[in-house]
């Protein structure tokens, strides 16, 4: 862990040691204050030397001022260095998260990552600001005290060193025993975070099912688990407290026994024994502190491990060393015998098709048939298990991932809006775009009108995930967001399912105009949405079962035909026909 922290300090490394050194260097100044009173009493009362009084007092004030200033500077620097390190750490973690693939986010709980980026990073900061300093301060005090002792009476010093092995043994044992308890504390902290976070994010469901009591019960469990873990950790560390205290007491006993023997035999003077005694307190202080230091170090170490896990993890989607750095793609997409599985679960099997640049492809199929997986592969959110996805004839794995994604715009079915203004959400891809541009895409997505109906219009802040908006409104904002990017390939994954048919039809009419020349992938359930596509792919359980235009697929009388008949069946023929004619007038 120390090595990790040392690396984390980067160019502050040596400065950090210097600051600690300065802090330790102020210790003698403190010693001076504690002895000056005695000197004054000696000088004035016994020697009647009033000049010494003013001189010593002046010195005392100066020494204190110097010490206070140094300490103040020192403390501020320690805060500053530790804050910078924490900031750097968080940024590094964030940077790494940006690199991680979808697979990681599919599997990892939000509360867990949260804990690492907040509480764990903070534990590391705390270590740098306080524990690291205290560690060095206490060790040097201990060493200094022992050193002086050694000069006065090396025999006594050697004798009291008998205690040292015990102290080191206790430190080791305690480290070993307390470490797992801190691991448990932070695991429970993570569980607490997860439970609270899910409750907050899922508050609508909790209320809809009136499951507040159950949620409270669940929360009580993790809340209690966290408390118990903390108490358990305290139980272990407090178990060791007396041992260090007793070791410190033993130190005195040995010193007095041994030193006393030499005093009695006349080997050392009483004066020396008095000095030895006072130095003992200097040496005992650190021993008592060791228990706390071990404790704090292990706490920090449990967190540092979790932080490092994030820093050292590797995304599955890797950019190869040598990739094509092509900026613009035309949008020609080919799937060549593609299979894809999540873990052991087959998602797509032997899919082959070819889409020319500028074509519109519609994908339909049952829930879970693999539609979203298929389009995810184009963006390389996941890597294929077998076969290859080619863009302009180049395997997407040979293209710089960022460049690739810049050429593709996706509106995902699972809509996530940020708690930002509507304008900020639409302009997510290009935050610096002029407002007119935002307005333009909002109009295409048929969102402009309802946005203006909000009292604050485009400046309305939408809640996280777009709560507070209806499903259709969210979808239209997400659509506008995707449109702003102006890519070669546009992917709309069930983007208009919550919009009423009339609006949907209107949106797609406009889109067709707008996206002439761009390759468009369209996942939808309504035949009315997909029927005008250049190519329709029908997926069933990960396989491509039908492919062709609306007419071709109808002629086949297969899956697509069935779906069409079903949707047509929604309109009872009589009234429907009439309606149709009316509608076409």
């Amino acid at each position: 862990m120390l090595r990790f922290i040392w690396e984390l300090l980067r160019k502050d490394k040596w400065f950090y040691l210097f600051v600690i050194f300065v802090g330790v260097a102020t210790l003698p100044l403190l010693l001076f204050r504690n002895t000056v009173s005695g000197q004054i009493v000696d000088a004035v009362v016994y020697n009647q030397d009033y000049g010494a009084l003013y001189r010593l007092l002046g010195l005392l004030l100066l020494a204190t001022l110097l010490r206070v200033l140094l300490k103040w500077w020192d403390n501020m620097q320690l805060e500053y260095i530790s804050q910078r390190a924490a900031k750097r750490l968080r940024e590094k973690m964030y940077f790494k998260l940006c690199k991680m693939d979808f697979n990681y986010f599919d599997k990892t709980r939000t509360g867990d990552i949260m804990t690492r980026m907040t509480a764990d990073a903070d534990a590391v900061r705390h270590f740098i600001a306080y524990v690291g300093y205290a560690l060095i301060e206490q060790i040097s005090t201990f060493a200094l005290g022992l050193g002086i002792l050694f000069f006065i009476s090396w025999k006594t010093t050697l004798a009291i060193l008998v205690v040292a092995p015990f102290v080191f043994y206790f430190m080791q044992r305690m480290s070993k025993e307390v470490h797992p308890t801190f691991q448990r504390v932070r695991a429970r902290h993570s569980a607490l975070n997860t439970t609270a976070q899910e409750n907050i994010s899922g508050n609508r469901v909790v209320k809809a099912f009136a499951k507040e009591d159950y949620e409270i019960e669940k929360f009580d469990r993790v809340n209690d688990g966290y408390r118990e873990a903390n108490l358990e950790s305290n139980r272990i560390s407090s178990k060791y407290l007396p041992r260090f205290e007793i070791a410190a007491a033993m130190l005195t006993v040995v010193a007095i026994l041994f030193g006393g023997y030499h005093v009695l035999t006349g080997e050392i003077s009483v004066g020396d024994l008095v000095i030895i005694n006072s130095l003992l307190w200097t040496v005992m202080g650190p021993i008592r502190m060791f228990a706390w230091l071990v404790n704090d170090m292990q706490r920090a170490s449990a967190s540092a491990i979790k932080v490092q896990e994030i820093l050292y993890m590797q995304p599955r989607i890797k950019t190869k060393k040598r990739v094509l750095s092509k900026d613009k793609f035309t949008g020609d997409v080919e799937f060549r015998d593609v299979s894809f599985r999540y873990e052991d679960e087959v998602a797509l099997e032997n899919i082959s098709f070819h889409v020319k640049a500028g074509q519109t492809v519609a994908i339909i199929g049952a829930t879970g048939a693999g539609k979203s997986s298929l389009v995810s592969l184009i963006c390389r959110f996941y890597d294929v298990t077998k076969g290859a996805v080619l863009l302009d004839g180049i395997d997407v794995r040979n293209v710089n991932v960022r460049k690739l994604r810049q050429n593709i715009s996706v509106a995902m079915q699972d809509i996530f809006l940020f708690s930002d203004t509507i304008e900020g959400n639409i302009a997510y891809a290009k935050p610096d775009v002029p407002f007119s541009e935002v307005e333009r895409v909002a109009k295409i997505a048929d969102a402009h009108d309802f946005i203006l109906r909000f009292p604050e219009g485009y400046d309305t802040i939408v809640g996280e995930r777009g709560v507070g908006l209806s499903g259709g409104q969210k979808q239209r904002i997400a659509l506008a967001r995707a449109l702003l990017k102006d890519p070669a390939i546009l992917i709309l994954d069930d983007t208009t399912s919550s919009v009423d048919m009339e609006t949907e039809h209107h949106i797609h009419q406009t889109l067709r105009e707008y996206f002439k020349g761009k390759t468009t992938f369209l996942i939808a359930h309504r035949i009315s949405t997909v029927k005008d596509a250049d190519k329709i792919l029908v997926l069933d359980q990960g396989r491509l079962i039908e492919e062709g235009t609306h007419e071709e697929l109808l002629a086949k009388q297969g899956y697509y035909y069935d779906v069409y008949q079903n949707q047509l069946g929604d309109f009872d023929v009589h009234a429907g026909k009439g309606g149709a004619q009316d509608g076409q007038k």
Binding site: L57, T110, A196, E212, V263, G368, D500, S528
Partner: protein
């Protein structure tokens, strides 16, 4: 609609005040007994620790007398005896230290547990709008991080403060008894200290308030970015976000350093002042030595003054801690004080088992003053009827169903279920009999089995599977790696939206509600699955009053009655055939949809 985002500091409703302090004392007061024991343990252990040096002094005195005289049994025995006593006392003292540490940890952890629990319980009562109004990370930071920040304050701060105050008073009494005049001289720097505290107090408070807001912002940004990382990556905005994050981290750091500027001023001031106190004492006492002041008194005072300032240094740490903690406490209490918009009225009764008749009588409602969402809505729905609500976005469909589950209270008029005004019944008894399926499904982390069981916690595995079969979710669940035991999480991990909707369908079926509300609940389910689902849906709707908001015509057409909502009122009402015959809004809608399907080339 939301009011806050990650880069806006939240406004504070009410500053930390006396009533907050009183509430905190209530939490602390619950552990009076433990705190009392801890205090007496501290008192006892300080007795022991002070006798230690005296015993050693006795040894040294003995040795001084006998220095160089060789080992005599008397001396050796006495010294051994004294050291034995010393050792025994040290051991006892050590165990007191342990006891104290455990007691303090318990008190601290228990109080934190209580505060966190109360906060969480209160959050459960707060309406959607509270959650919608701010980033979720900002609520989370209160429940988890802010409460944790109280830990040190509660377990160490409070008890230490009491002991420090006590020590200070004892020493003050000693000093006063010895020489009142010298005591006053010693106190001269004290007012300066209070002046310094007073001067920085406001800024220091503000600094910590800013710090807590920045911490909250950072938390919000981290939270939102983890949840929204897929969007970020697909829009390749990583670099931009990283620079925003850097800015936020920078602000958090700056706010911390700003607060530190004040915090770190306190301790050096005291240290300096205590030295000045020492100097003043000496300057005052030395010329008077032998006349009005004895050497012994001076020596005693020099010792006392050191002892007197020590607790003050500790208390100043405590003071810093309080200022810091206030910034968190006021946020915690602010949340606890947020009033839920819908609560049980005094004397609210249990809703009797619902049969299913729902009546709206002259209902009007607005979310914000002046913007009426519903105007004079009247309807009567018979038990078991299925009602489809149709109309453009923003017409008020969702509002109507929100009012039935009493997520909001009506502004005017009444909603009656089985003739009982729902505003007079307890929320829990009402909502427990309703099932609301929202379009935005939420999956909790856990197994699929657990997620379906959320509808009825004591359901057996068989019941869960049966429900899944009815809603045609069974097949896809079995196709997953671990079937019903597959772990899913919050965002539903790789389940498609349609699959998630099926799971929440099963959830609703299991809940067996008397009144069912489906708000765009099947929008992402494909036609084929929907067809098989239809059977399940029929079973789900059988014998229940249900309200359905949907765009899919098949769903609407199967309803017993269709209500067309426009601009906050019901403008058409009837069966599919009746409305078609009417040639009104519904007819237009229907015709338009049909034309989209048929207008091939």
């Amino acid at each position: 609609m939301a009011r806050n985002k990650y880069d806006i500091d939240e406004a504070l409703e009410s500053e930390f005040n006396l009533s907050h302090l009183k509430r905190l004392l209530v939490y602390i007061g619950r552990y009076k007994k433990q705190i009392g024991i801890a205090l007496s343990v501290i008192l006892a252990s300080s007795l022991f620790t002070t006798t230690g040096p005296t015993l050693i002094k006795m040894c040294i005195d003995l040795l001084t007398e006998n220095a160089g005289k060789g080992l005599t049994p008397r001396v050796v025995l006495s010294i051994a005896g004294i050291l034995l006593v010393f050792l025994v006392i040290s051991v006892i003292g050590a165990y007191f230290v342990k006891k104290k540490s455990r007691l303090m940890a318990q008190v601290g952890q228990n109080i934190i547990y209580d505060i966190r629990r109360d906060l969480f319980v209160h959050l459960q009562e707060l309406p959607f709008s509270y959650y919608d109004a701010r980033p979720h990370g900002k609520i989370l930071v209160r429940v988890v991080n802010y409460v944790n920040s109280l830990s040190d304050f509660l377990s160490n701060g409070v008890i230490n403060m009491v002991t420090d105050l006590f020590t200070m008073l004892v020493i003050l009494v000693f000093m006063l008894c010895l020489d009142a005049r010298l005591t006053l001289v010693c106190m001269i720097p004290l007012p300066v200290f209070f002046l310094v505290l007073f001067l920085i107090r406001k800024k220091q408070r503000k600094a910590w308030q800013i710090q807590s807001a920045k911490q909250s912002n950072m938390n919000a940004y981290i939270h939102e970015n983890i949840v929204g990382m897929k969007v970020t990556q697909s829009f390749t905005r990583e670099t931009r976000n990283l620079s925003i994050f850097k800015k936020i981290c920078g602000e958090t750091m700056d706010s911390w350093m700003y607060a530190m500027k004040f915090d770190k001023v306190v301790w050096p001031t005291i240290d300096m002042l205590s030295t000045i106190g020492q100097v003043i004492l000496l300057l005052f006492a030395v010329p008077r030595l032998g006349t009005t002041i004895s050497v012994g008194t001076l020596v005693a005072f020099l010792t006392y003054i050191g002892m007197f300032w020590n607790p003050i240094i500790n208390l100043s740490n405590f003071y810093n801690m309080i200022i810091n903690v206030m910034a968190y406490l006021e946020r915690i209490f602010e949340t606890m004080d947020t009033k839920p918009n819908v609560t049980d009225k005094p004397g609210a009764t249990e809703m009797p088992p619902i049969v299913g008749k729902v009546e709206f009588s002259h209902v009007s409602f607005s979310y914000e003053d002046g913007v009426k969402i519903l105007k004079d809505v009247n309807m009567v729905v018979q038990p078991g009827e299925t009602i489809a609500l149709v109309g453009p976005t923003g017409a008020g469909k969702t509002t109507i169903i929100n009012l039935i589950s009493r997520f909001y209270d009506v502004d005017g008029g009444k909603i009656l279920i089985d003739g009982t005004d729902i505003s007079g019944v307890t929320l829990a008894s009402l909502r427990k009999q309703m099932g609301v399926m929202l379009q935005d499904t939420f999956i909790f982390s856990g197994t699929i089995m657990d997620n379906i069981r959320y509808g009825k916690l004591d359901a057996t595995d068989e019941e869960v599977v049966r429900a899944a079969k009815v809603v045609s979710a069974h097949d896809f669940i079995l196709s997953l790696e671990h079937g019903y035991q597959t772990q899913v999480n919050e965002r539903g991990s790789r389940l498609s939206v349609g699959q998630r909707q099926l799971i929440s369908f099963a959830r609703a079926l299991l809940a067996d509600p008397k009144i069912l509300i489906l708000d765009e609940a099947t929008s992402s389910i494909d036609t084929k699955t929907e067809l098989t689902l239809q059977r399940g849906l029929d079973e789900l709707l059988k014998g229940r009053t249900s309200f359905i908001i949907a765009h899919r015509l098949s769903t609407i057409k199967n309803a017993d009655r269709i209500m067309v909502i426009s601009q906050g009122t019901i403008i058409e009402e009837g069966t599919h055939e009746e409305l078609m015959a009417l040639h009104g809004h519904y007819y237009d809608l229907y015709a338009a949809q049909y034309s989209f399907l048929e207008s091939v080339s």
